[in-house]
Symmetry: C2
Subunit: 339 residues, 2 copies
DNA sequence: ATGAAAGCGCTAACAC
DNA sequence: GTGTTAGCGCTTTCAT
């Protein structure tokens, strides 16, 4: 019964449950966390009362002493096509361990990321999973000092305080570029992002892979970058410039499908034949790349696997592991019409 | 200084701040919430100490008594192209009011949604913003009873306990279908979703709009639905069936770009000319629809605006409003090659 | 194996 | 205008 009329019944607390089951709150707490030292009989009584009263522990209250069984996941930007599969993997792994993920969207801006991470810490989340953060390695380390942390899409294999899980971007880029070179192209260019940004970005690694392949093929002098502005998923003229340039290359490797899709579309709009006059390979193997009308070759990063491994790493860190783990996942080239 | 060696300094609490500023904890608390009755002098002292100690209140502790200044946002499915713009609007509006959004991804399954909402409630979030939930109206009402709630992408204009903000899907569908009828097509079919599902889904409203337009044009007998299976963004043969049917219509209105993009691609793969032999209009105006190689006509829902209005509604509910608000946003038709 | 009781870091009466 | 203090709902020693 509740106090009056149509008011919703007050939410059951650990005390309500203890009273109903005729045991102490400490006993209920132990059952909740299935801690050591409770008899089967007691456990049963408590379980029954929990069901009966539809009791669920307050995460807020828990956060003041113990765990919240919740991890914070920071996403760069919702439009990033790499995210859905990663999150699938994360949720699956977390769910098995009875953990929940609550996410924040950083809008690709360090300031916002910072404040979101603060919120997650303030909420006493048990760990942090960052996906392609813009925050510098220093800042990341600072946060990692305070709670378990795993980072995806950020290459820092020497980081001591947090784990990283990444696609082997350097290798992936090399594989893609080699596929272009195999077709007989010499002037393979790369569309990438601004040079001044964080050295640990995935596209920096992909640039290394591109260089590796070109150098290995004796084409070091043909290396050339076309750099887009930072504005996320926002055309900035770089691709138009490339297509209209007298130096237009016969083959282009793109740091992401975001760029590659724009390139293949603008090439088509100009009547440039792909792949005859312009061969293209992108990165991320987005659903768009796979559309028959697009037919874009791309690197599959195996996002789900990355998400699973990252979540597993975070859980083991929460359980106490402190030695860092840095994993690289082998990506796979998906060849389509554009090559 | 901290206890030992390299340990990070213990986090400042409200007591630390009070001591440093030489005032009471109540005073600090008041400054924090800028509550009534604090002198400028006191406020200044406290602010300084807060800065100096880099203090930030524990949301977990706050949640036990007052507000958390955090709202939970439940997303259907990360692959839904409608989300990014909505979230942009939500974050912008929430940010201005110094609120944070933490999101959960329901994977388009009621069970998961339920558990995520529970988590958000357990965390003592101040309000809930649900985007296209699969949960029934009853369940939604149950949650709304416990805390402020606003729902996007769920048509229930009579809901008393929560607000809704939606695109005027019925009107949007009618506009789209009329555009097809204007081109002289009589057999305009619609690709939609399963019939048995929640009556408040957006695609149900779009079906009404389709019907409206057909009936108004005296074509009630030509109404025909092709229904996809529920599996999200997963081809299920419906579209192949449509394209290979002897009754293949000359024009199709799709409940979402998810279907329309598949349709236009598979049509192309079969050598069917769009729009000559098959005119198409989708819904959501996704980035993919806008690609030159796709050129898909689509309805723009003005997602950002929806997000802003929904967030504003939630904030006003948190501030105490109880009379429900149900808003419909006028969508706009974007015509491209496919029509 | 079980329970009593002391907090965790805040907010909100209430007293001064 | 400012301070004292009783909780909020848990977890966690420490007794028993």
């Amino acid at each position: 019964m509740s106090k009056s009329g149509t008011t919703t019944p007050a939410r059951a607390t650990i005390r309500t449950v203890a009273a109903d089951a005729g045991v102490s709150v400490a006993a209920v707490s132990k059952v909740l966390r299935n801690a050591y030292g409770v008899s089967d009989g007691l456990r049963d009584k408590v379980q029954k009362s929990i069901e009966k009263l539809d009791y669920r522990p307050s995460t807020a209250a828990r956060g003041m002493r113990g765990r919240t069984y919740t991890v914070g996941v920071l996403l760069v930007e919702l439009r990033n096509p790499f995210l859905p599969s990663v999150i699938d993997g994360v949720q699956r792994t977390l769910g098995k361990a009875n953990y929940k993920a609550l996410m924040g969207v950083g809008e690709a801006r360090a300031k916002i990321e910072q404040s979101l991470i603060d919120s997650m810490v303030d909420m006493r989340m048990d760990g942090l999973l960052l996906v392609a953060p813009r925050l510098s390695g220093d800042r990341l380390a600072r946060h990692a000092q305070r709670l378990p942390m795993v980072v995806i899409g950020h290459h820092e294999p020497t980081a001591a305080l947090f784990d990283t899980v990444n696609s082997d971007d350097r290798r992936g880029a090399r594989i893609a570029v080699e596929a272009l070179l195999t077709r007989g192209h010499k002037d393979v260019h790369m569309i990438s992002m601004p040079e001044e940004n964080a050295a640990q970005n995935v596209y920096r690694e992909r640039e290394y892979g591109y260089r590796d392949a070109m150098v290995a093929a004796g084409l070091a002098d043909r290396i050339r970058f076309w750099r887009q502005k930072e504005r996320f998923a926002q055309p900035d003229g770089t691709i138009d410039a490339l297509l209209e340039s007298p130096d237009r290359p016969p083959a282009v490797f793109c740091w992401s499908d975001i760029a590659a899709v724009e390139l293949i579309n603008k090439a088509a709009a100009r009547g440039i034949n792909v792949p005859e006059d312009l061969a293209i390979i992108g990165y991320d193997d987005t659903p768009t790349a796979a559309l028959p009308l697009i037919g874009l070759s791309s690197m599959d990063q195996h996002g789900t696997q990355i998400g699973e491994l990252a979540a597993a790493a975070l859980l083991s860190r929460i359980e106490g592991r402190t030695v860092p783990e840095h994993r690289l996942i082998e990506p796979g080239l998906i060849l389509r019409r554009s090559t």
